[in-house]
Amino acid sequence: MNFLKSGIKTVLGAPEPGQQPSVAETVERLVERASNSTLLEDRRDACRALKALSRKYRLEVGAQGLDTLRQILELDRADNETINYALDTLNNIVSPSQFEEEEDKPNIPMNIGDQFTEMFIKDPHNIQLVLDLLDEHDFRVRLSTVQLLISLLTNRTKDIQEIILDKPMGVSKMMDLLGDTREVIRNETLLLLIKLTKGNANIQKIVAFENAFDRLFEIVSSEGYSDGGIIVEDCLLLMLNLLKNNSSNINFFKEGSYIQKMLPMFNIPEESEEVGWSPQKVSNVHCMLQLVRTLVSPSNSAQIISNCQKIMKNVGLLDALCNILMASGVPADILTETINSVGEVVRGDASNQEFIGNVIAPSYPPRPAIIVLLMSMVNEKQPFSLRCAVLYCFQCYLYQNEVSQASLVQTLLPSSSDVSNLTSGQILCGGLFSSDVLSNWFSAVALMHALIDNTTQKEQLLRVLLATNIGSNPVSLLHQCTTLLQQTTKLQSKVALLMLLSQWMSSCPAAVSAFLQVPGGVGYLVNQTCSNEHDDNEYLLQGMSAFLLAICINFNDDSVQTYSKESLKQLLVKRIGVEVFTAKLSEVCKHELYNKAAKHPQLRVGCPVDVLIDYEFCRLFKSLEGVLSQSLETRAVNGGGAGEADLEQYKALIRQQDARLHELVHQLDALAQQAQGLQSALNDSLAANSLLKDENTLLKAQVSANSIPTTQPAATQPPLPDPKLGEYEERIEQLNDEVTRLNGEMTRLNEEVSRLKGELKAAKDEEKNSAEEMEKLKKDQDDLLYLLANYDSKTNEYKLRLLQLGEKVEDDEPTDEENLT
């Protein structure tokens, strides 16, 4: 305390003797009297004086008096006046806003109220003290208490929410105040509850449980619904707080038949055109529309959306909304929000979609409301936000509804005979080729939504022909889009056409084939993809062109010879390169507006320049990007099956070697047979040779034996043996030659055999090696599996241990009994 006092003295300057006492001294004396005086009157006077000082000198009063004021709240409860002064003083001290009286004091920190709030709630019991004062029926005390709570909550929302949640009757007490017959208190309580429920689901649920919706609807109805004052708006803001992102409360709202109770809010009296809308009424109706949208917001669960949509249709709420849509004199921003609301009430619900499809506008001639809306969408003079709303509403009308998608495309087909009426298809085609860029974009996106997940309509739309110039042949819509894509210089139109074509051609080979036949189409895409401009929007265009090119490859049925799947792939690899291509593709989702668009089905942009990418295109891109870039990789490395691929490779190798082995064995057999044949021939020759030798010897013996007796005959016939002998010798020589040759042949064959044997052995070795390698791979795989199982059990063990340690483990039903009393 001394430290603070001295601090203030240095700020204010030390009191000079003989002068008036300084503020700090006055405050000090007052605080002392408020806390120590035994007379209630004295304490009351001190509080009154402190209150008077607290606006101009809140630093001094707060620094010295906080404890004393707290103490008075506890001990002087019997005296409402004193309590009231104390509450007001506290409220001034913690006030989040700057007082006029403070303006000339630059040394007061901006967040002084926040700092005093922090000091005050350091002891949560102080909040209990304030909450207890809510039981006091006195008007002043009750009002001041509520106001103090509002200030505290404004400064420290989260902290005070937690403290109040911890007090068993905390929220209930505040809810009771809503029933206070004094309107000032009721109205102030509304503001308190709005602050209290902000962003805290648990408090929101308790407030709903305490019959908040009943009370609020009672107030709204007693105040005259949309014609009521700001109180109606406060009630609706509180309801919005209770319902936003709180599925339990939405469920309760729906089950409690509160949707029915919203109906009178949308009754727009006939004469409103003349009277005009007061700003308060605009705010009230705007909040009511927000309430409708909160219930059927696409971010809710499908079940909640569908239930609420059905109830809204059944109780006539959708009808009432359509009446606002068609009424005259409705302010533009209300009209815009109504269009958005109607969209979300029908989104994905076939019967509601059919309902608005049949709404007829009170125009001359009478036209379907959808047509009138679309006409505004492609009208440059309409407000930008309204045009965006119409697009969203139309997208919701087409969303997951094959009938409405088909009926849109139907209006464009040549068969539709009725030319006199303006059709939705005609409006969109007009918009597509208009000179207004936004109209191009809106129309292309609207048309694209008729094709989502609908192959039939993709093919039907191919049949659409356009008469471009008088005398020239009609061209197909796809042809015209492609031509326009090449001609236009506007970014938004280019992106819109690329989105339309991507949606159209994805999963539709017929559309791809039609596109490939358009002269220049592929070339344009390739050039765009190759382009080397450095700019976020250029990157986007390059990426989207790459995306469309990949669609041309992936959904190609090879019906166009020049651009078959393979040839396009080759073109891509040669001209762009797979890596560059993949990099360009990945640029798309890096664009800022892509990420914005991907978040919510509704286009949420502030200005026309930011209209670029549609939510459904993001969905298409996300679902296809992976598939497309993978299909381009020539050697697909499928991560999980790597081992399998290796195995397959080895198997092929083994099979190859096996075949070679067989071949060699056959060759060997053949050669062995040949060798055997030669051997036997050799044997024969040898036998014949020895026979001849014997014969020769015999003849020689005969010759020598007959030499005398045969001299005569020999003499008589000397020439006879001579030629024969020569002949024999010659023959022998011949045979010898033959033997040598055969011997040579034999050696060669033996060599051949041993060479083949070696080769066979090598082959066998190789086979064995492969088998071993395979064995090793299998073993590795087993090891990994075992390791995995090991980790698994370890993880479980850790989870258990964490559980034992009282830590929460998300996917387990904790059995932490030690957490219980």
């Binding site: 449980f209 029915q260 059944n314 109780v315």
Partner: protein, 213 residues
């Protein structure tokens, strides 16, 4: 949909005794073996018939964990009925009943009907708390008792309906002040035509019948 009365229930008891499963079985007639931990409080609703009258039950399923205990306390005051649930295969959930009961009695209105429920009766082989013990506890503290199985749906319907019957009888006896909504009872639209809020009644009457409740 029109109803004669609307009763607010809460379901309380230790974590993991099957409170959310009981509610799911009663409102959706299905069983979900793996259920996320309830955070704070969840809401469910169903229409039943007692004595020929349509009665709408609004049920708040609370989180059993200690951390949410103070939040749970906020729901006692406005409830007409409470299902106090324990798990027959976990003795400690039975032992904690006294604490729960004290809490409930302290914060609720004195007429709140409390039904004691021993859940998981299908797990007979793992039973740790005898049926007789549950009956004795209920007798001692003046509660209605039942054993249920959210898995097989045994007695689930009965548990919710019997509680409603008890409340209904108390209304007939005049014990409940039905005009005080803080008691967790609301009279249906067709009863309140004499009341001041005429606009609400007309709106409900104009709605086409056969809604989706």
């Amino acid at each position: 949909m029109a109803y004669a009365y609307l009763f607010k229930y809460i379901i309380i008891g230790d974590t993991g005794v099957g409170k959310s499963c009981l509610l799911l079985q009663f409102t959706d007639k299905r069983f979900q073996p793996v259920h996320d931990l309830t955070i704070g409080v969840e809401f469910g609703a169903r229409m039943i018939t007692i004595d020929g009258k349509q009665i709408k039950l609004q049920i708040w399923d609370t989180a059993g964990q200690e951390a949410f205990r103070s939040i749970t306390r906020s729901y006692y005051r406005g409830a007409a009925g409470a299902l106090l649930v324990y798990d027959i295969t976990r003795r400690e959930t039975f032992n904690h009943l006294t604490t729960w009961l004290e809490d409930a009695r302290q914060h609720s209105n004195s007429n709140m009907v409390i039904m004691l429920i021993g859940n998981k009766s299908d797990l007979e082989s793992r039973r740790e708390v005898k049926k007789e013990e549950g009956e004795a506890f209920a007798r001692e503290h003046g509660l209605v008792f039942m054993e249920t199985s959210a898995k097989t749906a045994a007695n689930v319907e009965e548990a919710f309906i019997n509680t409603a019957k008890e409340i209904y009888e108390k209304i007939q006896e005049g014990v409940f002040d039905i005009n005080n909504e803080a008691n967790g009872i609301k009279i249906g639209p067709q009863h309140s035509t004499a009341g001041a809020g005429g606009a609400g009644g007309a709106g409900a009457g104009g709605a086409p019948p056969g809604g989706c409740c």
